[in-house]
């Protein structure tokens, strides 16, 4: 480098970004040194993504300036960012399913480079860093971990001086995360600075030399993670409103079985989805059963089969001893089963419809005052909506807003409330707190625990291991459509579950197999 060593690699001075009157970023200052692993820590919605989009040229700051190696720069688009030496690995990957690995990488490279040269170089560099890839493979044939490798190798080929990673471990097993950290540490020792965006405190402490913490779009602290405790970091991140989960009595072994799944097998819907392979388990009254696993290992299919979105053989699924595999969603709801699906907008709720209309969608046929003949009684729907919003502390802009105007956390509270208010016997929840702020997430978990205490049987499918360890009584792991046996949460640990995520476990034997 020709610059003097005293210069910072990157310096942000008073960067602000507004959306109307909403301040997504408010006068952010940030300094990154060469070779440093720097954490950008904050909750969902704290403004991390907005900030890195401005660094990568996808967005333009409204105020403030960016200095690159001491000189002010305007980063007009991602190509300019790459030309400066800034590489980015996206949280929701920026890959093209239909194209090959080499084609995907070529799209981010200067136009004069030949595809065959790029293919050769990418295989060389992927080998060197222990990230094996085949240039000719199609992206949609790759696992999530391999896709992330493609993104990382794409950045490495550009020999970046700053590598930005947005929530890179959210899709990885603990073991895969460890491998990623090795690569990042090596890059750092070779002089590449890394901006590591995360809300996972433990990994920030293990990996990063410095941390900048964002809350509500503002920098609240700069610190050295190693000198902090997890609790002090969490307090800086979410403010003082950290909910402690109330301890509780776990469900008893002798309680009656509410949900029983026997030999459940299903083929994938599109041919890409992982099918279900002979899944066996049961959930008892008053307990929370958790299913861990990386996305795309059959959780969506399991939820679809349990909720009735996809029919199975009648005996494969029993609710209170009644075979329901062939029954519709409504018929299962009438038996006291309630379902909260993964996607809030578009699956659990219709985005453009008002909250009261969304009430009607899942409660019709269950609530006798909701309909007169073929007509809807809107007054009843609104009453139910009011009850839900009050009991579950749903914060909304006006009386009966469309579902899409609610924040993720508030809509999730509403959806859960709508499902469980009717006195559910069985609640099946897929990803209860995905993309939800920490305050709402804590409340949602408390709600689930309260429901179990009131005697409901609860099945939680989640990719968030911390969450499962916090609330569930028993844990099982899904990998490639197979489910491990359930073990009491106290008798297992993160490493064991992580290993199971890769498919290393003994299968739950089918009682009738």
């Amino acid at each position: 480098m020709t610059q003097t060593g005293a210069k910072h690699l990157l310096q942000l001075e008073g960067i602000s970004k507004y959306y109307g009157s909403f301040k997504a970023n408010d006068r952010i200052d940030l300094t990154i040194e060469p070779g440093q692993i720097h954490a950008l820590l904050g909750e969902n919605g704290a403004g991390k993504s907005t900030l890195v989009k401005m660094l990568y040229g996808s967005l333009q700051p409204d105020e403030g300036r960016i200095l690159w190696q001491g000189a002010p720069v305007v980063i007009g688009n991602p190509a300019e960012a790459r030309a400066l030496g800034i590489g980015m690995v996206f949280q929701h990957f920026s890959l093209f399913d239909a194209l090959t690995v080499a084609e995907n990488i070529a799209l981010a490279m200067p136009k004069d480079q030949k595809l065959s040269d790029i293919a050769r170089r990418l295989e060389a560099i992927s080998k060197e860093y222990g990230l094996p890839l085949k240039a000719g493979a199609r992206i949609h044939d790759l696992s999530v971990g391999e896709r992330q490798r493609v993104e990382i190798v794409r950045c490495l080929l550009q020999e970046p001086q700053l590598l930005i990673l947005d929530e890179p471990t959210s899709v990885l097993t603990p073991q895969e995360s460890e491998d990623l950290f090795k690569v990042l540490r090596r890059l750092s020792s070779e002089g590449t600075a890394i901006l590591y965006i995360s809300h996972k405190l433990a990994e920030v402490q293990a990996l990063c030399q410095k941390a900048t913490i964002l809350r509500h779009g503002e920098v609240v602290a700069d610190c050295v993670p190693a000198n902090e405790t997890t609790l002090s970091l969490a307090k800086m991140m979410v403010g003082d409103d950290i909910h402690e989960i109330a301890p509780r009595n776990t469900g008893s072994e002798s309680a009656e079985v509410v949900l029983e799944v026997k030999g459940l097998s299903a083929t994938g819907l599109t041919g890409f989805e992982t099918s279900l392979k002979n899944v066996n388990f049961s959930v008892r009254k008053g307990e929370i059963a958790g299913i861990a696993g990386i996305a795309g290992n059959g959780q969506s299919e399991l939820f679809a089969a349990l909720s009735g979105e996809r029919a199975t053989a009648p005996d494969m699924i029993k609710i209170d001893g009644v075979p329901v595999g062939h029954l519709s969603i409504l018929q299962r709801r009438k038996l006291g089963a309630m379902f909260v699906s993964e996607e809030r907008l578009g699956h659990a709720a219709v985005p453009e419809m008002s909250l009261s209309d969304n009430v009607v969608l899942t409660r019709h046929g269950l609530e006798k005052d909701l309909e007169t003949g073929p007509f809807i009684r809107h007054s009843t729907a609104r009453k139910i909506k009011d009850k839900i919003t009050e009991m579950f502390d749903v914060r909304k802009g006006n009386e009966d807003p469309p579902a899409m105007s609610l924040s993720g956390g508030n809509l999730q509270k509403f959806v859960l409330g709508r499902e469980v208010m009717a006195g559910a016997k069985l609640v099946i929840v897929n990803q209860p707190t995905w993309g939800v702020d920490a305050g709402s997430a804590a409340q949602l978990r408390q709600n689930l625990i309260d429901l179990a205490a009131e005697g409901a049987a609860i099945l939680v499918i989640s990719q968030d291991l911390d969450e499962l360890f916090e609330i569930s009584d028993r844990l099982a792991t899904m990998a490639e459509g197979e489910l491990s046996t359930f073990v009491p949460t106290g008798e297992t640990n993160r490493n064991e579950v992580g290993l199971k995520m890769t498919g290393v476990f003994e299968h739950a034997a089918g009682a009738n197999a």
């Binding site: 040229g57 996808s58 967005l59 333009q60 688009n77 991602p78 190509a79 300019e80 960012a81 790459r82 996206f90 990957f93 920026s94 890959l95 093209f96 399913d97 239909a98 194209l99 084609e103 070529a106 799209l107 981010a108 136009k111 199609r138 949609h140 599109t270 041919g271 890409f272």
Partner: protein
């Protein structure tokens, strides 16, 4: 000239406008835009080509005018669906209705007039070779352009960086935008190319196929071209095969009638669409191939966040 030769020549003439319009629409759809207004752009090209050729006396200027009108019509579509992110299906349907109406108005005074025909190529020695002579060396100039277009588009899509970029946009415009690819600019250019091809296809109808102007003279060929793109599962070479298949069917229908064979003409007219449905059913069986060739963003508007 023998009977076989004559039939083969008419098949080529019938297939050429289908081929040109479809290859243009293929590029549009590969970029993720669904322009259902092919019929409208084509009929505008037909009237524009005929009127200008009549006024100037030069069919080549007519061809240029046909292309220009196709592009102009497509720009209206591009502005509405790309800049304003309007619904592509509704806009495309409106474009067809608009094109049919506007072309009737523009061509009103020219109905029934004798037109200028673009002459066939006639290479002294080569064209006299029996059978292949007239077929390969004695066609109208637009026939050669259509073949060049297939080769050119194939090469562009699968051999050039710009083609890769275009396919990537059709596959996932969010990812493309995140990489800094100018999604909207590429889509504008693709839609304009589609318009140019549709206009040229229309010009072929009014300057080569039947050198005259009749209202609605495209007679549903734009829709066949749209069906062809799906039939070909977005592969240029298959568009070529499909266009000649559909062209042969439409010519076969005429000869069948002349010979008194009782095949309902309605059935034959419906054949391209029936064939497309069969192909759709067949390709949906092979999920992987569908995923690779079908533009996943087809018909989805893109609004970059700023």
């Amino acid at each position: 000239m023998g009977m076989t030769e004559a039939i083969l020549l008419t098949i080529a003439t019938a297939a050429t406008p289908l081929l040109i319009a479809a290859i243009g629409e293929l590029v549009v759809e590969r970029s993720g835009v669904l322009n259902l207004g092919v019929e409208g752009m084509m009929v505008m090209g037909a009237v524009g080509g005929f009127v200008v050729a009549s006024l100037t006396g030069n069919p080549w200027i007519g061809v240029l005018a046909a292309i220009a009108l196709g592009v102009l019509t497509s720009l209206l579509f591009a502005f509405l669906t790309i800049s304003l992110a309007a619904n592509q299906v509704a806009t495309g349907l409106s474009l067809t209705i608009l094109g049919l109406g506007a072309s009737s108005l523009m061509g009103e005074k020219f109905v029934g007039q004798a037109g200028k025909k673009l002459g066939n190529l006639d290479l002294p020695v080569l064209s006299d070779i029996p059978l292949i002579g007239p077929l390969i060396f004695g066609q109208d100039p637009i026939f050669y352009i259509s073949i060049a277009l297939v080769i050119g588009v194939s090469w562009f899509l699968f051999r050039t960086r710009a083609g890769l970029t275009l396919r990537s946009i059709g596959n996932n415009h969010h990812s493309a935008h995140a990489l800094g690819i100018p999604v909207l600019r590429y889509r504008y250019l693709a839609v304009m190319f589609g318009g140019a091809c549709a206009g040229l296809a229309g010009g072929h109808l009014s300057l080569v196929y039947t050198p005259q102007w009749v209202e609605n003279m495209t007679a549903g060929r734009g829709w066949i071209a749209l069906a062809l793109v799906v039939f070909a599962s977005w592969r240029p070479a298959r568009v070529l095969a499909g266009a000649y298949l559909f062209g042969a069917v439409s010519i076969g229908q005429l000869h069948a009638q002349a010979l008194g064979i009782a095949v309902p003409s309605q059935l034959l007219t419906a054949l391209p669409f029936l064939a497309t449905i069969v192909v759709l059913v067949l390709i949906s069986q092979n999920v992987r191939a569908t995923l690779i060739n079908t533009p996943a963003m087809l018909g989805r508007p893109f609004v970059p966040d700023r």
